[in-house]
């Protein structure tokens, strides 16, 4: 599936593939998934699946070849550093069945930061890029990520990943943005469940989710309505508010930003 398949009118989907033993051992807590999720959401790209796999080429290749067929875009994080355990670039090349070698443009980027003596075989590893890939520059570390077809390969270090996401985002074609209305209520989720199921039945174009909260000794539920169509969204949100008010509960429609 190529980028061209994504148009402003379609539903555009994405997967994230996190590559790294350190996430699976719990040593490092992932900070990228949530960031990418929100970033894509704002562009009208729906993150639909995430996988985390170990630093094992066969695992990376298998996951990548499923995800890149199934979704408009795939974003990988991790495994593009200078050391022997960084095997993402060669795994991506293997997944696409293409070659990989030192890329002159990538080497030039590394030379902006490193002298020729510093450009040892380890650092030069970071210039090994699959053939035909387009680089993804970043302002933090110089070592580039890269794009092959609909797969975007990024660093695992959050600050570098975020810079790469900014750099590559002009290449993404977003779909229709899901608009969001949050209704915060003091009703308990167990009491909200039945009326909410009935409301969902009346609003098929709106996805209604329910999330209990427990804070500062209080409790309640946030109802999250999501829809492409703003009229449909507002009708559902107003329905929630009216029904909950009639039950004697508080029910205020909160700003559309995630909370």
């Amino acid at each position: 599936m190529s980028d061209a398949s994504a148009s402003g009118n379609d539903i555009v989907t994405a997967a994230v593939l996190v590559i790294g033993d350190e996430i699976l051992s719990g040593r490092t807590k992932d900070k990228n998934i949530g960031y990418i999720a929100e970033y894509l959401d704002r562009m009208g790209i729906r993150l639909t699946e995430v996988r985390i796999v170990a630093d094992i080429e066969a695992e990376i290749v298998a996951a990548l070849n499923v995800l890149r067929q199934r979704f408009s875009y795939v974003f990988t994080t991790g495994g593009i550093g200078p050391t022997h355990d960084d095997i993402t670039a060669s795994s991506v090349a293997a997944a696409f069945g293409i070659g990989i070698s030192e890329n002159e443009e990538a080497l030039d980027l590394l030379r902006q930061r490193h002298s020729e003596t510093e450009l040892n075989p380890g650092r030069r590893r970071m210039a090994r890029i699959p053939h035909g890939a387009t680089l993804i520059q970043n302002t933090v570390s110089q070592a580039p990520g890269f794009q092959v077809e609909n797969v975007f390969v990024m660093a695992g270090v959050p600050k570098i990943m975020q810079a790469m996401l900014d750099a590559l985002s002009p290449r993404l074609v977003g779909g229709k943005v899901l608009k969001v209305a949050n209704i915060k209520t003091d009703i308990r989720e167990g009491d909200a469940a039945e009326p909410l199921a009935a409301i969902q039945d009346r609003h098929h174009d709106v996805s209604i989710g329910s999330y209990p909260f427990f804070r500062d000794g209080g409790y309640g539920t946030v109802i999250v309505c999501r829809a492409i169509d703003e009229v449909a969204l507002n009708a559902a949100a107003e329905d929630v508010r009216t029904v909950f008010k009639a039950m004697g509960a508080s029910a205020e429609i909160a700003p559309q930003s995630p909370s």
Copy 2:
């Protein structure tokens, strides 16, 4: 694959399946994966894959049926609340091809917290348990999770999930615990790469990972050695320390806990 396949001498593996639109939209940041990863690691159970999927039965069933065949244990989080968007229990029943209905034991647990009038159809939904499943109690919410064969179904709310993990952990058979040695050095990762690759070649029973850090204006690299055999582990860690010291770098072996 049944629990019986896990013995104290085998390598015991696990997958986590996070179920929830709210994670994929970025609205909620997952706090469970890292917690479960560390928890299992201490028991000698290797978290080998994580997937995050949406609240869509077909997606849940497909992921579950792959993961439960491939790994010793599967842990799911999310989607067992009282509302219409909580479809994990019925999806697990579908994945195993078994029935689901109100479970008397689960209802009794809910009755410890809720009066009969409070036990409305929404809350009673939380007592719908696949046939033949074993409940997983928790001290926080009363609403139980459940186990079917090697699949453990837990809540998404971190405090409840953690209580469930404590409750179910006696049912898990751990494998050999991977011991860890961290070596913190002021050498930059790009300079550590070549010697580290050579060290890895000398210690095949030890997995050596490398993680750069940037903190308080300083930088450096943490080398993480992991192995079942403590003698092999210590030999590799000492090799790292000796080689880095010879390069004029700092290299201290840190405590074996994740940092």
